[in-house]
Amino acid sequence: MQQIEEQQQQQGQEQDEDLMIPLNVQARLSEYTDRYFVKSYSEHQYVFQHSNRLYLCGINKNHPIVKSDSDIKEIEFTQKEQLVKGKKKKGGLKVKSNTVMLKVHLENGEVYEVQAGQDGYIIEMNENLQKNKQYLKQYPETKGFVCIIQGCRK
């Protein structure tokens, strides 16, 4: 199962049959991310698809960064920043799901690479990670997201 999941992630597909959570769960209050997003996980990362087809990408709870006892020393953004203009979000950096977006240096010397997780154009990198590095470790699936990606037009 893991192999298939990894393959799927590499191909940039976000549909994962095991973990479909329906959109618009209105009846009982659920977490913000549950309400709008369809979540799909791979071994260490996640891709959440919003009902408006934008993708939220980041590392999940099983990632060694999160599991490690050591704190984050530095987060290096490996890709150049490209500003996105206009409603159609023109000018965004084009990435593949295995493009490395971050290099995370831990206090104990370990370095981890974080990939984009989804093919498409980067609309936004999480700027909060520059000031609040611990978000990546403490809230990987909410405030510590890595980037927002707009899918390629078909």
């Binding site: 209105q26 209050l29 977490e31 913000y32 709008y36 919003h50 009902s51 408006n52 087809r53 934008l54 939220l56 996105v84 203009k85 206009g86 409603k87 979000k89 609309i123 936004e124 999480n126 909060n128 978000y135 909410t142 405030k143 997201f145 927002i148 707009q150």
Partner: protein, 571 residues
């Protein structure tokens, strides 16, 4: 009109070239309306002209009574013309005004001024207007004519004058551009009285309510007329540009290189484009001199003139404020891929009765801002206006009674109510835009917190005045709005604890603030937010817009603080 020998010679020339009498009168700038309508008088005119040219009965013998011009062979019209507009083929086939198809056509107006008196034509025209079922007590008349007629007019005059020789001052006068009376005016002089007799209402140019427009079109012909002038006009334009550039060279203008490059690019593009029949191009052509014009021929194509009759009534505007008491009602009908999401919409509910009474062709809904679909709109309501476009029954005296009727009909429903309605006009757009940008709004929402709430932090939050927050475009709208940071102001907060983890939050904020994102922080893309203020994790359960205020001042804040007592029990 006063004839002299020179005028008569020109008249004869034009007559021989198959121009109808009404067009000749136009070229001579005759402005007495009745001369165009008294078709009996044409025969006397022809006799008078004949006398002056030395052959009294010549013109009368050749006269075609039906079409007010010299007799010629009627050529079959090309019903399926080859034009560059493929849509035109269908238009020609559906033309109900078939009287224009096979006629003894005048060279200039191609039948427009010839068939207006025809009884059959008038019957079809009146039928066409009456079957649309408008109520009106007067009408305003508008005409549009094809631009190709002007080209032929210029060319014919030029030909005649060259042949005659310009020794009379009258000839010089006649070839100045825009000397002749326009075809549109002639159509109006002839048609207004005829139409008002048949429709039994007067024709009033000052009454803007009901407009009848006769749109004579012949696009295929227009294009053919203008085509031949492409090269010469381009050459003239190029020369003018070169002269401009020469001047600039002398002044050492630094932008020169760029201009030259742009022009060469433009020229390349122009080569392949057709020379379009526009007013601009017509003016350029009319400036050509006699010799230049002589090299061109009159292209006489046999495309029939198409007539389209459009009628419209002045729009009616109704304004008011609406209150939305239910959830899952969109403001305007919402379709995805042709499927209707959410059965009701405020637009439908508010305008149903008005549409039944006034019967508009279509409806436009304008509002001062909008709210999310799951948010109620309470208090004094949100300003809106409905525009009834082209109301067929607009003649009904627009009284307050009708408005009251519409209002009570709307208010009898449960989910949407309106404040007393008023008639208005296009000034409402400014008001609505103003409301969207400037008004301060009070909201009430129910918030759930993840951890037990700290009472001290709540007291601190309640003291806030004019907190500036920075909101990045919320993820839920990021797919259709620009990615940017918006500065908004939270003027005041009033938080009441319902129990350990549930809060009732009242907010007073500037226009355009995303309230949901302020509460749950949108993954920390809105800072500061309620989560940071209360050092907790908050999520919003339900939101209502409580009230709209004109602007922020102390009275507003006091009123806001009292909202809880005003409405508290009803939530």
């Amino acid at each position: 009109m006063q004839l002299n020998e020179h005028k008569a010679i020109l008249f004869n020339k034009l007559y021989e070239k198959d121009v109808c009498i009404r067009c000749i009168l136009r070229l001579f700038k005759i402005t007495e309306n009745n001369l165009y309508r008294e078709t009996q008088g044409f025969i006397q005119l022809l006799v008078d002209v004949g006398k002056l040219i030395g052959n009294e009965n010549k013109l009368v013998e050749e006269y075609d009574f039906l079409y007010y011009k010299r007799k010629t062979e009627i050529i079959d019209c090309d019903i399926l013309p080859q034009t560059c507009h493929s849509t035109l083929k269908d238009q020609f086939i559906k033309n109900p005004f078939y009287t224009f198809d096979k006629i003894n056509k005048c060279l200039i107006c191609h039948g427009i001024l010839q068939c207006l008196d025809d009884q059959k034509f008038l019957v079809i025209l009146v039928n066409e207007i009456q079957q649309r079922q408008y109520q009106f007590e007067a009408f305003k008349f508008q005409v549009k004519t094809p631009i190709g007629c002007q080209i032929r007019q210029i060319m014919i005059l030029n030909q005649c004058i060259t042949e005659i020789g310009s020794n009379d001052p009258f000839y010089e006068q006649i070839i100045t551009p825009n000397f002749a009376t326009d075809i549109k005016n002639c159509v109006k002089w002839i048609m207004c009285s005829l139409l008002s007799e048949l429709l039994k209402v007067p024709c009033d140019i000052n009454d803007d309510r009901f407009l009848i427009c006769l749109n004579f079109e012949n696009i295929g012909d227009d294009i053919k007329q203008f085509e031949q002038f492409k090269q010469i006009i381009q050459d003239i334009d190029d020369k003018m540009w070169e002269e401009k550039i020469a001047k600039k060279l002398k002044m050492n203008d630094p932008q020169l290189k760029e201009e030259i490059n742009n022009k060469l690019l433009q020229k390349k593009n122009l080569q392949s484009q057709p020379f379009l029949p526009t007013q601009n191009n017509l003016e350029k052509i009319s400036k050509l001199n006699q010799i230049q014009l002589s090299q061109f021929k009159i292209i006489n194509v046999n495309y029939p003139v198409k007539l389209e009759v459009t009628t419209s009534y002045q729009n009616i505007f109704i304004k008011g404020n609406y209150i939305k008491l239910g959830r899952y009602i969109s403001q305007t009908p919402w379709f995805i891929n042709g499927n209707r999401i959410y059965a009701d919409s405020i637009e439908d509910l508010v305008s149903a009765e008005a549409c039944k009474i006034f019967k508009p062709s279509s409806l436009k809904f304008h509002s001062g801002g909008r709210e999310d679909i799951d948010v109620r709109m309470l208090g004094n309501g949100r300003p809106f206006a409905i525009e009834l476009v082209d109301p067929h029954c607009g003649l009904q005296i627009q009284t307050q009674e009708i408005l009251n009727q519409i209002e009570s009909n709307i208010n009898s429903q449960k989910v949407v109510k309106v404040t007393p309605l008023q008639y208005t006009d296009t000034n409402i757009f400014e008001e609505l835009k103003n409301s969207e940008i400037n008004k301060v709004k009070a909201y009430c929402c129910i918030v759930e917190c993840k951890y037990i709430v700290n009472g001290d932090l709540i007291k601190q939050a309640n003291q806030i005045k004019d907190l500036i927050i920075k909101q990045k475009t919320p993820i839920r709208v990021l797919h259709r709005r620009t990615q940017m940071v918006r500065d908004k102001i939270i003027h005041s907060l009033l938080i009441k604890q319902i129990n350990e983890k549930w809060l009732l939050v009242y907010l007073l904020s500037s226009a355009g603030t995303y309230i949901k994102e302020f509460i749950h922080s949108d993954l920390d893309r809105t800072v500061p937010n309620l989560c940071t203020l209360l050092q907790n994790e908050c999520d919003i359960y339900q939101l209502d817009v409580m009230k709209l205020y004109e602007k922020i001042d102390d009275d507003v804040i006091i009123n806001f603080k009292n909202l809880d007592t005003e409405y508290g029990s009803k939530i």
